[in-house]
């Protein structure tokens, strides 16, 4: 593809104030070197369709805003080069398995509601220490490795769009919430397995995952939610046979008294909240 080669974007348009059903619209723009799908959408909005709507922010694959269905695959628009698609015809639709708010903007609220229901945060009894820390929670690098991969999730929703169960079942939690729940269950600083288990043992748990593997293939950050879900199932089965108890949450390591601040480094300002 050279500069000025025309690239045709076939976009799924939907204006809820004037339309009952989404429609396809074609736009042709010249290719420029290094053009991503997001760059193409910007050019279209600037020159051809000022009302085109989508979500984007960082344009470098870290915020998770621009998840879209591009040439039949859920991908990040900012991370997808036109040349990578191998064709000058680019079909862009909003992420499937989410309701369409407008044009390429999906309604991600069900995903975040499912995420919140699975308690994706550290749960510990020492709330005083969590609010006013006196030291840090001990964690070895080996312990960190057990869940680090799952922390790279940017909540883009591509895994949810790829999942075959999400295609038909609105009650399924989905790969992202489940993987994030496992991220906290495997974190040695956390003590919340018993609380999360109450939700995970019901139909909101991982039981409707059948390892199609699409979520891990679609994930733009290599989070591998399928791996997290299968490891979670193992934990839950062991728990069912009373063979698993979550290790005690890691202890606080107080600040060392032997290490002194260098005289030329100022103290941090006091907290304002």
């Amino acid at each position: 593809m050279t500069a000025d080669t025309p690239v045709t974007f076939r976009l799924r348009r939907f204006d809820p104030t004037t339309q009952q059903e989404p429609v396809w619209e074609d736009f042709t723009i010249p290719y420029t070197a290094g053009m991503t799908v997001l760059d193409g959408l910007r050019t279209i909005k600037e020159t051809l369709a000022p009302s085109l709507a989508w979500r984007s922010s960082c344009r470098m694959g870290v915020c998770g805003s621009c998840g879209m269905f591009i040439n039949g695959h859920p991908r990040l628009a900012c991370n997808t080069q036109i040349t990578e698609l191998g064709t000058s015809s680019v079909t862009v639709a909003p992420l499937p398995n989410f309701a369409i708010i407008r044009d390429l903007v999906p309604d991600l609220r069900p995903m975040f509601d499912a995420h919140a229901a699975l308690m994706p945060h550290i749960i510990r009894e020492d709330t005083q220490e969590m609010q006013e820390p006196t030291g840090e929670y001990y964690q070895s690098s080996h312990q960190l490795e057990q869940f680090l991969q799952f922390t790279y999730c940017i909540k883009c929703g591509c895994c949810m769009a790829a999942c075959p169960t999400m295609a038909t079942d609105p009650a399924y939690s989905g790969p992202m919430p489940l993987a994030q729940s496992h991220r906290y269950n495997s974190d040695t600083r956390d003590g919340g397995f018993a609380a999360r288990k109450q939700v995970l043992a019901t139909e909101q748990g991982p039981w409707k995952c059948h390892f199609a593997g699409e979520c891990s293939q679609a994930c733009p950050k290599g989070v591998d939610p399928a791996r997290a879900i299968q490891l979670m199932k193992r934990q839950m089965v062991m728990d069912y046979f009373r063979l698993y108890t979550q290790p005690c949450p890691s202890k606080v390591v107080p600040k060392s008294t032997e290490i002194n601040r260098r005289p030329d480094v100022p103290e941090a300002p006091a907290p304002t909240i």
């Binding site: 075959p164 295609a167 495997s186 593997g213 699409e214 290599g222 989070v223 591998d224 299968q230």
Partner: protein, 154 residues
């Protein structure tokens, strides 16, 4: 604050063929479901067909007569081919099922690793197991096919 529910956009049953459309595991997933349903339908009928043995030799012969035909007849061929398809469904479903049992209990998917592009996911880790399992299913299928052909021709 957004108050409309938005336009529905689920892929539906087409999504069972792979909403992400990435790998051959999605076909294994769909085939596993189809063979499972086929085996269940056959099994429910099979309970009634084979329970005839409790009622004596005549009942058994009548029951077997209902699910077979004279050698060389179209009816006979239909039931023989049908039974072979059930055997094939069993070969696939059993071997793939062992693979799923291993994977869903956390084996053969590798340990969590720091993701460095190009990502090596659990799908890649279990691919050798998937290949072995398909080869095994093929061997079972071939053995069963030989057996069916032998009975057809002797």
């Amino acid at each position: 604050m957004l108050d409309n529910k938005g336009h529905p956009n689920r892929l539906g049953i087409w999504g069972w063929l792979g909403g992400g459309r990435w790998g051959f595991e999605r076909y294994l997933y769909t085939l596993h479901r189809l063979t499972g349903l086929g085996l269940l339908c056959y099994f429910l009928l099979h309970i009634f067909v084979t329970s005839a043995r409790a009622f004596g030799q005549d009942a058994w012969a009548a029951s077997m007569g209902r699910v077979s035909g004279p050698p060389g007849s179209a009816r006979g061929l239909f039931f023989t081919v049908g039974e072979f398809l059930v055997f094939a469904a069993f070969a696939f479903h059993a071997c793939n099922g062992v693979r799923l049992a291993l994977i869903e209990l956390g084996f053969a998917i590798g340990k969590p690793i720091e993701p460095i592009y190009p990502y090596r996911t659990s799908v890649h880790e279990q691919r050798p197991l998937a290949v072995v399992v398909m080869v095994l299913a093929g061997i079972v299928l071939a053995a069963g096919g030989y057996n069916f052909l032998f009975h057809l021709t002797h």
